[in-house]
Symmetry: C2
Subunit: 598 residues, 2 copies
């Protein structure tokens, strides 16, 4: 059976030593009082919750799955899920970074980020229930009417009720412009909504007495395509004026999907049969309103794979130290044993360090983004708010796609460390791989992320936002360019930064002549930029570690950080050598293939 | 539901146009009569069997799995498996490439190779039952006594009984030297065998009335380690002198593993409780005898992923043509539809072509190896036999590791083409991914393969065998070096060949000084060599295609081949740019990591 230890030390390193978040929060009146002790205490408690309450339900939840009662349309979640959720609510966890006006604790996103990393590591399927609620909370908070906010936000902040996002229909996933669900206005200002939704995560369950579905649908007179979509709040049970639960609304679970993983989460087909809803935001502008949720969800999906990468690493490391098999090629290491622990083998270390480097690089990036969100929302300086918003928009597809692709690689590598045992369910490793696989798909496939990054976020404003990130890199290069000890980390980042600047310009020209060139390069481009971003953070982490070591700090944590940074630059970062070639390979070898794909 | 069409045209291309096997067989008296029509007819029939009999059981077999009756120790295979096996036996398929002396048809291995590719594509879990039998047949044929051969080989050749290989124990997989199962000699020349085996594929089932287990065990006076292991034949039911089934032997299924995939195959824990066995080969030389089986099995595992890559490709291609979603970036392509089929998107094509290029490259290599096996066994010229044996030994770890790693990439890419539907069981794609995952692990993990390749097969004889492959490359370069149309294919192969020669020498020196350098480079080295081999075959396939096109052949098959070759060199082969760097990165960044892996 696998184990999970919350990576508190590394989180503290990222928050306090790398990003110095409390210094940043001092500039933000709303968070000025958030100090190191508060942060550490919350994360410690949050880690306990993840490790002790939801992690023990991870394998059993996978085995048991969710069950639909076809007569009542009710879904039973795996044993223990409901009770764990109750504890989560009682602990006040849903309110962590919610608005105090609606019962939230108003703490920074960085806390939520790390708490959710631990929840995802412990049990991705369970965590999706409260995770989706938080997205619904954000969308309502940003676009709901005063009445909607007063009525519903406290229920989401307390966790009493949960939320979903209902976008996909059988014939449309990426292409929401094709959606058909209809919303007919009623005399009382409500809407009657009819249609079929699929792939609705946490779409039906027994963990809370009500579910608030945020549903995309079309008004009768709506323009065709994506400009004719509106957003509606459709509760499972209608809510009385006093906030109490009323009659059952016409939204039912018609089936559950049988999936590769995340079995503990109910992926529901929802039938809307004249369900009563109220509009969120403006008519025909539902996609904009939903995008608040989508962006949060995309960061959240990256965070899911970050958690899985960490937990897979921890277990593979323990196994590699424990399992004895063969001798080291350079001579016996464990003389008292009939074989050496497999961690003596270089390739076993490579697999472990791949996961470690991806986990810690991902943690730095994800926290950097969470801090940007805090600034975007609450910094007093408008320019800081705007810059932060742009930078987080640029980095969101990287968090989503790069971290989830890395998570797939890393969980699979960690499973490989176990040899045959990795393929056996009871060891828990193959579940991490299966669960991690969905993260490359939902909330916009990783291909869609790459088009969003290259087409919209990079070329869409002629590289202006990318230059903002480039400035951070240039600052670091300037700071450390003459420090010989840092050159092994700084040089590759500086070099790749230069290459990317040229390559981006080149792609801009090519894409102008033929937009398909953008599609042909985008996925590889995203991975190169991902390594530039990870390389930047690994260089900064090495910088912190080197300074501590030079100042005489004997904590082996800093040596570990330095070793992992060296591994990253030696073994993972060089992927860019190939990616720059393939990203440059052009569209011809892909599109002149009609005979091959006949 | 997925579909499967046997790729007969491409098999015929590889056999008749690329390798010209019938010309080769004319040199081998045993196979001199095997003509094109015979080959094509057998493959057509074999393809029908796979597509019509076992493919329809693939998803149901995965859902149902195998069930152990703990009282009787009997295993029930999924519905239909037994009947399909009966048809397989009735069709005479087990005998295809078995020795006529024992009831076989004596046909070349290339036929078995392609037949098994189709069986694996159709249903890997089912195919493992007869597949393991074939390995047992090979080991007995090579090392059994006359009595054993006469008694058992006809039963395996006819498929009346099946076979297994029993190596792994809970504490030892790779490191067979540690195995503990004991064999005590009896007065009558038999042995009483006691111990516990795990991970025994097809280890117990209801498809045949008897199972012949080939079991590794230790004699009482055996030396420690791998030089004290002997091989025994242990039938599930003892066999009477007349060949009829006798009493139940003391080998029982104690449990079945719950696995990520290949659910239809019974992965058995076997308890040997004084089971009666007879020795195969010489005392303490069991590993050598078992290696006959292992080498065949390793080629067989590569073939499993080859099959899965092909079937995943076929389905993803059909889906990509059918599913409409979004418009092409370069303008509307399907004006009559509300969206374009997703195959218009460059990255969707990239995913599809990745699978196609890996499938067709793998098919060329696997058939080349099968032909080498035919020459090794039956060519009249001893030098040809020896050269063939050496070359196939060099290529075996590449077939096993490179094709299975590619299969993981390819099945996952094909699943990705489906978006969210790829994650849903009913579409069948996620099963291909789960099934493909075991192939990177069993019969020696891919890390073990890479050590076998670099340490034993390449450096072990100072690169002499590698030079034999290098000669083939040099020949091709010489043949086509001045043909401008071939330069796009020849140049990268020639260049990589030169780099590999230098790099191998370099590694030899480094490994001499520190053997861990071999372990640190081996996995990446194998992938580079894999691309060199695939590059060689893709260049040769392009050569054939170009010649046909230049001769006026209008069959679009040749355009398809050329397009896929171009894709391979533009998008997959450049992986070597990174691999050469990481393989050269040395051992320090892996082994100086005690703090990071504390």
């Amino acid at each position: 059976m696998p184990t999970y230890t919350p990576p508190l030390r590394d989180m503290q390193f990222v928050l306090h030593e790398l990003l110095k978040v409390t210094d940043e929060y001092k500039q933000i009146p709303k968070h000025a009082d958030v100090d190191v002790d508060t942060i550490n205490a919350v994360l410690e408690e949050g880690g306990k919750f993840a490790a002790e309450v939801t992690f023990p339900l991870n394998i059993s939840g996978d085995e048991e799955g969710c069950k639909l009662n076809k007569e009542t349309h009710e879904v039973a979640t795996p044993k223990g899920f409901k009770e764990a959720y109750q504890k989560y609510v009682e602990g006040g966890w849903p309110a962590l970074s919610c608005d105090p006006e609606y019962g939230g604790q108003g703490l920074p996103f960085t806390l939520n980020q790390n708490f959710y990393e631990m929840l995802n590591a412990a049990n991705q399927a369970w965590t999706m229930y409260p995770g989706l609620s938080h997205g619904a909370y954000e969308a309502l908070h940003a676009h709901g009417t005063e009445e909607q906010k007063k009525k519903y936000l406290p229920k989401l902040a307390s966790g009493e009720w949960t939320g979903t996002m209902c976008l996909t229909e059988p014939h449309c996933g990426t292409d929401l412009g094709m959606l058909r669900t209809k919303a007919e206005p009623q005399a009382d200002g409500t809407y009657r909504i009819t249609g079929n939704k699929i792939f609705i995560s946490a779409g039906e369950h027994d963990m809370a007495p009500n579910i608030l579905h945020l549903v995309l649908a079309r008004l009768p007179d709506a323009p065709q395509g994506s400009k004719g979509i509106s957003l509606f709040l459709v509760p499972k049970f209608n809510v009385n004026a006093d906030g109490s639960i009323g009659s059952r609304n016409g939204i039912y679970c018609g089936g559950l999907e049988h999936k590769m993983g995340i079995h503990g989460n109910a992926t529901a087909q929802l039938v809307l049969d004249g369900a009563v809803g109220t509009m969120v935001g403006e008519p025909n502008k539902g996609l904009q309103a939903m995008f608040v949720m989508m962006n949060a969800a995309r960061l959240g999906v990256g965070n899911q794979s970050l958690g899985l990468t960490e937990v897979a690493f921890q277990n593979a490391l323990a196994y590699a130290k424990d399992r004895i098999q063969m001798r080291s090629l350079s001579g016996v290491k464990a003389k008292d044993k009939p074989a050496d622990p497999i961690i003596v083998h270089p390739d076993v270390r490579k697999m472990l360090l791949t996961a470690k480097a991806y986990a810690e690089g991902g943690r730095a990036l994800a926290n950097f983004c969470a801090l940007l969100l805090d600034k975007e929302l609450h910094h007093p300086d408008e320019k800081v708010r705007k810059d932060s918003a742009e930078l987080v928009a640029l980095l969101t597809p990287i968090v989503k796609a790069f971290i989830t692709d890395n998570g797939w690689t890393a969980t699979s590598a960690c499973m490989q460390v176990y040899g045959g045992h990795g393929y056996i369910k009871e060891w828990g490793m193959e579940q991490f791989v299966r669960d991690a696989r969905i993260n490359m798909i939902y909330e916009g496939t990783n291909t869609v992320q790459s088009l969003d990054l290259l087409g919209r976020k990079v070329l869409g404003n002629n590289g202006a936002t990318l230059k903002k990130f480039g400035k951070l890199v240039a600052q670091l290069v300037e700071e450390e360019g003459v420090n010989e000890k840092m050159s092994e980390f700084i040089n590759p980042v500086a070099y790749l930064g230069d290459q990317m600047t040229k390559f981006t310009t080149e792609l801009g020209f090519k894409g102008f002549q033929n937009p398909d060139e953008v599609g042909a390069a985008a996925v590889d481009y995203l991975r190169v930029l991902g390594h530039l971003v990870f390389g930047y953070f690994w260089a900064r982490m090495a910088q912190v570690a080197l300074r501590e070591i030079e100042a005489g700090n004997k904590d082996p944590f800093y040596q570990a950080k330095l070793q992992t940074a060296r591994f990253y630059f030696a073994r993972l970062f060089p992927e860019t050598a190939t990616l720059l070639r393939t990203a440059r390979a052009g569209v011809k070898n892909l599109l002149d293939t009609d005979a091959a794909l006949a």
